[in-house]
Symmetry: C2
Subunit: 315 residues, 2 copies
């Protein structure tokens, strides 16, 4: 089994690589990304470079590749700040990857990561599988365009595509990034590490959440499902749980204590607020549940998941 | 007033050019297309070439252009037969045009022609403004992607975009083309001219129709509306009328007589049928009607419109 993971140097990409290796020790796994953390190159075939470059794709994508997990992207805040870079990576990069996939020996399974940022504008209180994407960011626009490309390349028989609209992933480890949703991990991760965290949105802000563990499980499940299990749009809204920022912080406090609670400071940031406010908070995800995708049980267990992961990493 | 019309050599583009000239004799109107019929170059500034080429766009698009009507496209059957050409013209061409528009002295009004081919798959009996596009052709996919680009470029303030999802335009003059909907004009146009016409779909097939006159009126109205009249998606389904092929042919017979009726032969074509079957037939177009767009009254008057136009052309 030959597998390519784009964005394989990222936190979700590298966890997915580890999960794939664990269930199939003989799998040939290639990661492509603009940079890699230490340690990955010893365990996986790592290709560094721009996804939209023909040369990099030729290097990364073996002709007999069976599966592609496309996670690489310029994140929401980044694509909003640099319009050209966002389109280059998120649209040109995706298209170049699909074109390269089309030329493989046989149509590969392609798991494409879209996002809840596909939705925005005038939204119903509860979104469902029939809600029309109306992104309010360039990132969301690029993600939706990618979904339509995946569907068309699949319809033509060039690939066997599967698109997942991811909720906000919490708790991300490491450092804050340019994603407008970066705070949602920051307000949990930093206090747990004894560090202050500035929350740019009010405590009442709602967030639609999926844990890293469930996200990686969803990537594997999306890959494993029979092609016929997917609708012609090839896209599904993943199930998440809805929490307010206040509820998230309180759950963190129950795990880490009052001292940690005091480390969350509310420092309004109009730019971040403007982006986050356009994202939906409540979903009915009937299709995904029928297809066997699973949400998290509760937020406290997500916080404990992060604490356990950090302990393992520290060892 | 400086205006660019892409696809300006086509039948709708050249009629739009004439309508714009009629209401503003001083307007500087440039047409860009891969070819032009005789006569146009004497009345308009005609640029021949590939829309996706930087050089052609620089030649066609004056820095102080006020309005762009983007009609150029590889049609449905053409984009389905030649995947690469369809993406080159319909996606790369549209993106190159929007990028060029972004660099103008001030954000131009951009009227973008999308299509009912945006819809397909599992559809409700009657579509409305909330129906999610799920195209079943590459042409439809490219048109929907264009809508999302127009919305994002508008949101960023680069252009003032307005997208129209056109019903099938009937009666097109001239010769059959590669559009899967070409038959819908052929079964009217050819018998009226005393020529046999092969209809590739059964008489019961439904079609969602707009006349050329109403289409040109819609382009002008879309341009003239205040920016605030448009939703954030910048797209509207134009109002049409629903007819079966049988009803269309019968209306033609009432205008042209029984002899003309006998010239329509039903010759099933599975490829065309496969494309046309995915298109929706019935719509509720509340938003468009509220915005002042107008459908045709009946099909007989559309047939008579065509007869009158042909008489004028023959003079």
């Amino acid at each position: 089994m030959k597998i390519l993971i784009t964005g394989g140097g990222g936190f979700l990409g590298s966890r997915l690589a580890a999960a794939l290796r664990e269930r199939d020790p003989d799998a040939a796994i290639t990661l492509v990304d603009v940079a890699f953390p230490p340690g990955l190159a010893e365990r996986f075939d790592c290709v560094t470079g721009d996804l939209a470059s023909q040369k990099i794709l030729e290097k990364a994508l073996a002709r007999d590749t069976d599966a592609i997990f496309h996670l690489a992207a310029v994140v929401s805040g980044g694509a909003e700040a640099d319009f050209d870079l966002g389109y280059h990576v998120n649209l040109d990069g995706t298209r170049a990857l699909l074109e390269a996939a089309r030329k493989l020996a046989k149509p590969p399974r392609v798991v494409y990561t879209s996002s809840v940022a596909a939705f925005g504008g005038e939204l119903p209180d509860v979104l469902d599988d029939s809600t029309t994407p109306a992104p309010q960011t360039s990132y969301g626009t690029q993600k939706v365009i990618g979904e339509y490309l995946v569907a068309d390349f699949t319809r033509k028989g060039f690939i066997d595509g599967r698109s997942l609209r991811l909720p906000t992933i919490v708790v991300r480890p490491g450092k804050p990034n340019l994603a407008a949703s970066s705070f949602a991990s920051g307000i949990i991760r930093e206090p747990l590490a004894g560090v202050e965290s500035a929350c740019p949105v009010p405590p009442s802000t709602g967030v639609w959440i999926l844990s890293p563990r469930r996200a990686v499980e969803a990537f594997l499940h999306a890959h494993d499902l029979d092609s016929s299990a997917w609708p012609t749009t090839r896209v599904v809204n993943l199930p998440g749980i809805t929490l307010s920022v206040r509820e998230m912080v309180e759950a963190m406090g129950r795990v880490a204590g009052k001292k940690a609670l005091a480390l969350v400071k509310f420092v309004p940031d109009a730019r971040i607020q403007g982006i986050v406010e356009t994202w939906p908070v409540r979903f009915r995800t009937e299709r995904a549940l029928e297809m066997g995708f699973k949400p998290d049980h509760d937020f406290e267990s997500i916080v404990r998941q992060h604490v356990d992961n950090e302990k393992t990493r520290a060892k």
